[in-house]
Subunit: 215 residues, 2 copies
DNA sequence: GTCTATAAACAGATAGAC
DNA sequence: GTCTATCTGTTTATAGAC
């Protein structure tokens, strides 16, 4: 699928993969280019050659993250107008995102990288925001509007969507604490399903509350 | 209130304050003891003198964080048994925590520090978990049980409490992205109230759903 | 307790061989 | 494109003056 077309592309990909892990785990400042190069089975100089330096590598990581996110949550069909269909689409999107973040190792790296960027914003965050995050949020807001009849760009709906998206990311970030309290040794499909079920229950309850004002 | 009793205590406190900021912003690996010392208006050597080194400083920060969290969400009255009172106590605790984290600058530093520790667990995280986090979570679970009639130590309730706690922390962590999408220039009391209101609405809706199975 | 000076290891960037 | 060697600055830790 993504076979390297030109020599050097494989090295680029390996460096980005290693950098994503390093930046996510240790933060940008704490990650060393030497360790990244070693993890990618290459030398330090190749980072400067391929990306112009450490900062260029961060930008390349952001671009990669943006592409991957857009790919997973890619704009599929136009948002349904039927409330029940919109609610189902909302639940499915959130569930997919949750399972993806919790179970795919590469998704974990991406989530950690994004968290780090949020905690200490750099121009790379703008790239991710504009390239992927804003689009997803807007689409979920539109679904929320279709499901409840509320204005999708109202403050309340935008915040509600954030609160649901946030739960997904939180369960990944707080993994160590959650696992300890839940007495889980790891998050495997059964545990991820339990988390997805909790988030879905929160979603359904909130949608019921938002759609209720018929009374 | 916390007047330094012995000389050196003021320096210790200043170093911990600066370290909390540095570790939270740049991560443990990325923070330099020199920058911390400069921020605390002292010299590098005093960190080794007072804390035995960089790692001892992290432990001291964790202890400080643990104490502060326990102080704010300190065990007050015994949990009420009346469902409505329990629900009110739950809502009040969550609201206080949310406003505290979003508005108090020092709370922001603590939240960032904890997030970093979660993303890359160290023995310092155990200290925070055992010293503060577990107690708060257990207490909220007990309140949830009293409010809904469910078993407070069931998997569902424990995860539900995590999902609500997570929203509070998420809105702090994801501040830059949230502010951009909400077109907020900063999170001041009005914005924090809007966030607290969203979380409260999620809580009430979920409690309604959990308490419903009377049908 | 506080500080300066210094040691030893490490960082990122780059020149140049191949 | 890939790599080694090296330059320059910074890191943590520590020895010792005051």
């Amino acid at each position: 699928m993504n076979a390297p077309r030109r020599p050097g592309d494989a090295t680029r990909a390996a460096i980005i993969d290693a950098a994503l892990r390093a930046f996510g785990e240790r933060g940008y400042d704490g990650a060393s280019t030497r360790a990244i190069a070693a993890d990618a089975d290459t030398n330090v100089a190749s980072i400067s050659y391929h990306f112009g330096g450490k900062d260029g590598l961060r930008t390349a990581c952001a671009r990669h993250v943006s592409d991957r996110i857009a790919e997973v949550t890619g704009a599929s069909a136009p948002p349904p107008t039927d409330p029940d269909a919109a609610r189902a689409a909302l639940a499915a999107t959130l569930r997919d995102l949750c399972l993806f973040v919790l179970l795919r190792p590469q998704a974990g790296l991406i989530a950690a990288f994004v968290m780090r960027e949020m905690a200490r914003p750099s121009p790379a965050l703008d790239l991710i925001y504009e390239g992927a995050f804003e689009g997803i949020h807007r689409r979920l807001c539109a679904l929320w509007a279709a499901a409840t009849g509320l204005d999708g760009e109202s403050e309340g709906v935008r915040l509600a969507v954030f609160s649901l998206l946030g739960q997904t990311l939180y369960f990944h970030l707080a993994g160590p604490v959650v696992r300890r309290r839940m007495e889980w040794t790891a998050v495997t499909p059964p545990e991820a399903e339990a988390i997805a079920a909790t988030i879905d229950r929160n979603l359904q309850a909130r949608l019921d509350a938002d759609a209720e004002p018929v009374a």
